[in-house]
C-alpha cells in the first residue's frame, strides 16, 4: 500500500500570521476548519486526547473581536498549538498515557514553556497523545496520518501526527532519546531538539532529567523557530525573525557541513542514504563545504544515552514498581525494572562515557571547523503497527525501538541542538527525515542551515 500525504496544502504559522493580520483569514474560520478536520480524521489518527470544541470556538470568537480593536496584537495571536500530554497545561490533566494517572487532578498552572508561549497569543488546542511516560517510540494508540497502519514514532507521536495531519499549526514535544525528532521524521514534519538545558522543564513530567528537553514541532524551520522563541518568552522577537528566513535565495556559503561515516551509515534503508546524498549535493550547490569525518564514540554515546535513560526512568517510577506495577504497560515496566536494578557502577561508567562523548564530538567540530553535521534521523521510515523488529538486507534484525533511536540517542548524550527536517519520500511514499546537528547553544546558526536545506530538499 502506498502512503498518502494527509495534508497536501498545509498552512504554515508564517502564512497564518500574515493572513490573520491582513484579515483574509479569521481565527474563527481557522479554528472551525481545524476542528472539522479533527472530527473527520482523528478517529483513525488518534493524535488528540482532550479537545474542547465549544471552548475553543469561544476563544476564537473573542480573538476575532479583539482584532477589531486598535491595540496591536501579539505575534502569534490566534495560532492553534497542541501540547504533548507530558506537559502541564492549566485546566487539563497531564495523564502521560499512564493508567495510574487517569484520575489525576487538572494541572493548576502551565508548565514554564507553556506559560511563556501563552504570552505570544497562541490558542492551545488541547493535549496530544504520548507514549506511556514518554518511554518509547510507538505512541499507541496514535497512528501515522500518512498510513494509519503505521506508527507515528514517539514519544511525541500525537504532536507530530497532529501537525502532519493539519489539525494544528505547531505543537510541543519533549525529547530524551529522540522523542521530537523520530516522530517528526516519520510524519514528515520539522522538529527541534534544543541544546540540553536551554528550555525550562518545570511542569513537565520527567523521563530522564539529565537529558529531558521540551522543543517545538511545526511544518517549517521558520515556524519551528517562532515557537522556540515563544517557549522562551521572547515573542517580541518573532516579527523581526521572519526576515531571517527568506522564502528564496538562501545561501550556505562559508558553511562547513560534516558527513559522518561508519556508525551513521550502517543498517540504513537505502532510500534514506540516497536522500542524504541528495541533501549533501544540494548543500554543496548552495555553497557549503562538505567534510567527510568520523566520530569514533558514536556507539559509546548511544549506549550512554540509552542506559542513563533506563536508570533515571527506573528511579522515577520505582515507587510504582513496588506499589502498583500492574498499572504499567509492558514497554514501561521492562524499562523501569531494568533501570531499578542496575548497579551504581553502571551509572558511573555511563556518566563517564557521556562526558567522553561530549569531549570527543567537540574535538571533531573543532578540528574540522564544522558548523553542523548531517545524518539520517532514523534508519528506516515508519514501521507498521506491531512491527517489533526491523529486518535488514544482510539478514540481521534489530528491536524497533532500538533501531529508531540509534541515530538520535547519541545527540541526547552530547546535549547538542538538532533540527529534524523532512527530506522527501521513500518508494512507499513514506516520509524520510534527516538531522542537522549543531554546536551547543547555536540554534540560530543551525536554523539558518536547516532553512537553506529545507528550501531545496523537497525539489
Amino acid at each position: 500500500m502506498t502512503a498518502v500525504n494527509p495534508n497536501p496544502n498545509p498552512l504554515t504559522i508564517r502564512e497564518a500570521v500574515q493572513r490573520l493580520g491582513d484579515k483574509s483569514l479569521s481565527t474563527t474560520g481557522l479554528m472551525a476548519d481545524l476542528l472539522t478536520r479533527i472530527q473527520e480524521t482523528d478517529e483513525s489518527v488518534i493524535a488528540w486526547l482532550d479537545v474542547r470544541p465549544k471552548f475553543l470556538m469561544e476563544l476564537a470568537e473573542a480573538n476575532d473581536r479583539r482584532r477589531t480593536l486598535p491595540r496591536e496584537t501579539t505575534p502569534l495571536f490566534g495560532i492553534p498549538i497542541g501540547v504533548k500530554d507530558m506537559i502541564d497545561l492549566a485546566g487539563y490533566q497531564t495523564v502521560c498515557n499512564m493508567e495510574s494517572r487517569v484520575e489525576i487532578t487538572e494541572a493548576p498552572r502551565d508548565a514554564e514553556v507553556v506559560h511563556q508561549m501563552r504570552k505570544s497569543g497562541v490558542i492551545f488546542m488541547g493535549k496530544t497523545v504520548t507514549q506511556e511516560a514518554a518511554a518509547g517510540i510507538y505512541s499507541d494508540p496514535c497512528r501515522n496520518p500518512w498510513d494509519t497502519e503505521r506508527i507515528p514514532g514517539g514519544s511525541s507521536g500525537g504532536s507530530a501526527a497532529a501537525v502532519a495531519n493539519g489539525t494544528c499549526l505547531g505543537a510541543f514535544g519533549t525529547d530524551t532519546g529522540g522523542s521530537i525528532r523520530i516522530p517528526a521524521a516519520l510524519c514528515g514534519v520539522t522538529g527541534l531538539k534544543p541544546t540540553y538545558g536551554r528550555l525550562s522543564v518545570e511542569g513537565i513530567f520527567p523521563l530522564s532529567p539529565s537529558m529531558d528537553t521540551p522543543g517545538p514541532i511545526a511544518r517549517t524551520v521558520a515556524d519551528t523557530m517562532a515557537l522556540y522563541l515563544a517557549m522562551q518568552g521572547k515573542h517580541k522577537d518573532i516579527p523581526a525573525m521572519w526576515d531571517r528566513f527568506p522564502l528564496s535565495g538562501a545561501s550556505l556559503a562559508g558553511k562547513r557541513i560534516g558527513v559522518l561515516s561508519s556508525f551513521f551509515n550502517e543498517h540504513v534503508q537505502p532510500e534514506i542514504l540516497a536522500a542524504q546524498e541528495r541533501a549533501v549535493e544540494k548543500m554543496r550547490t548552495l555553497g557549503a563545504e562538505i567534510v567527510e569525518c568520523d566520530w569514533q564514540d558514536a556507539e559509546l554515546a548511544r549506549s550512554a544515552a540509552k542506559i542513563i535513560a533506563r536508570i533515571e526512568c527506573g528511579q522515577i517510577h520505582r515507587d510504582q514498581l513496588t506499589t502498583a506495577p500492574e498499572l504499567m504497560g509492558e514497554e514501561l515496566r521492562k524499562r523501569v525494572e531494568l533501570g531499578a536494578i542496575l548497579p551504581a557502577d553502571v551509572w558511573f561508567a555511563m556518566l563517564h562515557a557521556r562526558e567522553r562523548a561530549k569531549r570527543s564530538i567537540s574535538a571533531v567540530y573543532q578540528q574540522q571547523q564544522l558548523d553542523a553535521i548531517i545524518a539520517p534521523t532514523t534508519p528506516v521510515t515508519a514501521p507498521l503497527v506491531g512491527e517489533k523488529e526491523i529486518n535488514y538486507a544482510d539478514g540481521t534484525s534489530e528491536d524497533t525501538g532500538l533501531a529508531l533511536t540509534r541515530f538520535t540517542g547519541p545527540w541526547n548524550a552530547t546535549g547538542q541542538p538538532v533540527f529534524a527536517v523532512p527530506a522527501g519520500l521513500d518508494e512507499k511514499a513514506l516520509p524520510i527525515g534527516l538531522s542537522l546537528i549543531g554546536r551547543p547553544d547555536q540554534e540560530w546558526e543551525l536554523a539558518d542551515i536547516a532553512h537553506a536545506l529545507e528550501a531545496v530538499i523537497q525539489d
Binding site: Q296, K334, L338, A340, R356, A363, Q366
Partner: protein
C-alpha cells in the same frame, strides 16, 4: 542464565521490588546484555585526540 536469574531476583528482593517468576528470565537477559554493553564501552574508549578537547571546548567557530 540461571545464575543471572538468581542474581536479579536477589537484587530485586533487596530493593523491595517484586518481579513475577515468568518475567525474571527476560529481565535477567536484559540485565546481562546491559552489563556487556557497559563493558564494551569501557573497552572501546580510544585515547582523547590532541589538542585536548578539554582545552578546545566548544569555542565558537571562527
Amino acid at each position: 542464565m540461571s545464575d543471572s536469574v538468581s542474581h536479579v531476583r536477589e537484587v530485586a528482593q533487596s530493593l523491595g521490588i517484586s518481579i513475577q517468576e515468568d518475567r525474571l528470565e527476560q529481565l535477567a537477559s536484559a540485565y546481562e546484555a546491559t552489563l556487556k554493553e557497559v563493558e564494551a564501552t569501557r573497552q572501546s574508549q580510544t585515547p582523547l585526540p590532541t589538542p585536548s578537547p578539554y582545552d578546545a571546548g566548544w569555542e565558537v567557530k571562527r
